[in-house]
Subunit: 379 residues, 2 copies
């Protein structure tokens, strides 16, 4: 390193959001290099990343699973799977209880794929029984898609039970695990998942720039020639990675180097179990402290995951969300608005390079802002 960048040394705000997240200094410093996309060191990094991701899922190529990396945000990854995995003339059932389920439906619509929505209440887990009913009632359904952690409210959906039903019916099963993979244990084999999609900048704590797909090799094989896009062709992307270890089109080299480091740090933390433990501690501390101030969660505890939590606005007339958000921002703490459609809520994420002490500081700051606003009780 020669000279520090103009903003280096300046402390960034802590991000209590669904992502992009706060990452470690060493993850960002892994980007202080320029590697050619054909460089053997870079090709080795791609290989290591693909193998580590399979390993994180308890899978391997020997077990019949593959890992594909795709440029762009998580949505690009989801679109690559929907556009590649649904066969011509196929029909997609999308199980929806939030904005990300709706997005899958929208992707299929734009791609001209016949699809049907199974809409569930935003404040409840999806119901595997309803999925069984829909599949049973419509033989033309070929593919089922669901979101694992629907961050709209912060729900964890029952992807394992749903998977058994989808497998039994012989359909292809797609899981959007954007905000859960790496921090919530999930057995892809037991859950009968054909395609799981996640992103670099979520629980693995890399920086944004690409998504990844973990899939059954047999299901991937069926994608050949089916893609509705050249850039987002999942099978061709896999084939490219297999042929020479490289991306077909310019990869986000720096982002990948950061991700390689992030995977090492995840392993150092004890893998998925270790990360789940830290995020759970963050969550427990957050919810206890928020409740103490009178805040009420949007979800029932049984439906709530430890990734991100929606809180209802306090009923107190002096509470103003924009003011609340802005004043926390002035203290270098970033929370997030909510996308829940039937209640006024905001969200606080527990993921990223955030420790329990950071959550405690956030709670103190929230208490102080409430006092400034004249909100005595946040209930």
């Amino acid at each position: 390193m020669t000279s520090p960048g103009k903003d280096a040394g300046k402390k960034d705000k802590l991000l209590f959001t669904p992502g992009p997240l706060t990452t470690s200094a060493s993850v960002k410093e892994a980007m202080l290099r320029d590697l050619g996309s054909r460089d053997t060191a870079f090709i080795a990094a791609i290989r290591a990343i693909r193998n580590s991701l399979l390993g994180l899922a308890g899978l391997s190529r020997e077990k019949g699973y593959e890992c594909v990396l795709m440029q762009g945000s998580g949505t690009f990854g989801v679109e690559s799977v929907i556009g590649s995995a649904v066969p011509p003339g196929g029909k997609l059932l999308v199980v929806i209880n939030g904005a990300y389920g709706e997005r899958i439906l929208k992707i299929a619509g734009v791609l001209g794929i016949e699809c049907e929505a199974l809409r569930c209440n935003e404040n409840r887990k999806t119901d595997p029984g309803e999925v069984a009913g829909r599949i049973g009632a419509d033989e033309s359904i070929t593919t089922v898609a669901i979101v694992h952690c629907e961050t709209t409210p912060g729900i964890i959906n029952p992807v394992e039970e749903t998977g058994s039903i989808v497998r039994e019916a012989g359909k292809t099963y797609i899981v959007d695990a954007m905000s859960s993979f790496g921090a919530i244990e999930l057995d892809l084999e037991a859950a009968e998942i054909d395609f799981l999609v996640s992103s670099a900048n979520k629980c693995i704590e890399g920086v944004p720039g690409f998504s990844f797909v973990i899939c059954r090799a047999g299901a991937l094989d069926h994608c050949e020639g089916q893609a509705r896009s050249l850039s987002l062709d999942l099978f061709a992307q896999w084939q490219g990675l297999e042929t020479n270890g490289q991306f077909r089109f310019t990869p986000p080299t720096h982002t990948l180097l950061a991700f390689e480091r992030a995977l090492e740090e995840l392993a150092e933390e004890g893998g998925v179990a270790g990360r789940a433990a830290r995020y759970s501690r963050n969550y427990d501390t957050l919810v206890a402290g928020m409740r103490e101030m009178g805040f009420v969660e949007y979800l029932a505890r049984g439906d709530q995951g430890y990734i991100i939590t929606s809180f209802r606005y306090p009923a107190h007339p002096a509470f103003d969300f924009t003011e609340f958000y802005t004043r926390l921002g002035e203290k270098d703490l970033v929370i997030y608005p909510s996308k829940v459609s039937d209640a006024d809520c905001f969200r606080i994420g527990n993921i990223g390079r955030i420790q329990e002490s950071d959550v405690r500081n956030l709670l103190k700051a929230i208490a102080s802002v409430l006092e400034e606003l004249g909100v005595e009780n946040a209930g």
Copy 2:
């Protein structure tokens, strides 16, 4: 900055390639931050980038032009334009003299867009007269696409003359300026370009992760509802950026911060003219030195641009490209294989954070490797 990354301090190889390129330390250091995607500082960076890109092209919103940023590699940007700009039932004429023209054709094919190829010889500029002929002969053509700098051999195509013909015929005009924008003066208004696509990691010397599109506002308006993809919907992406200054889907935040810095450094170098001057000096020094050793360029001087140069393999039987490439790599110098189909060539790029002294060092290294290989003359 806390501790240096594990590879910090290690000197990276210099990249004499078409990209990703060698970038400045300060561009990379701009990535040592985590900004939220809704952060006002980040939204300001996006705005500054979009305005600077228009400014680089001598354009502005007042002049009726817009700038859209799109996640993914340059190909993702090209696909977003092809998939959004060609109307339903439209027909695309692709002017081709290399791999990137072929790629546009492939994109259109996968998207189910009717298209026709006007293939020209790889070692010659495309011929505007032939474009006029094709357009005249087929009224159903709605859109014409061409590559400005076809890096396959390193040719600069006559996009201005072609533009006049396309405009006269009332067709939409798309230019892939991936490897030229920012380093070759191009008047979009005079060239009658409706959509120009380029990428973060080329002549502006940012790091890879997104592409950008500069377009006539009127042409962009026509794209509404036409996209064949949700992720790669150019109009929706623009609309998102206009509505709240944000990307619709998670942006590559770090890559964008690096790009903002890269644009500042381009301005410090004297803008397009300043950068063109440095790249031209690199090119002149390279070609003079290579000729001295006996190397012969693939292209005639009049067809050759100063971005990247293809050289024929020496006829000497002791020349082995893999060995040549590997030994240069051991000296931390990376050149590039060629995609030219009718001759054995390799390529050397003059772009990225490379100075004339670096080119001189490369020439010395090439002379030394030739000597090691026993190639007395590279002709």
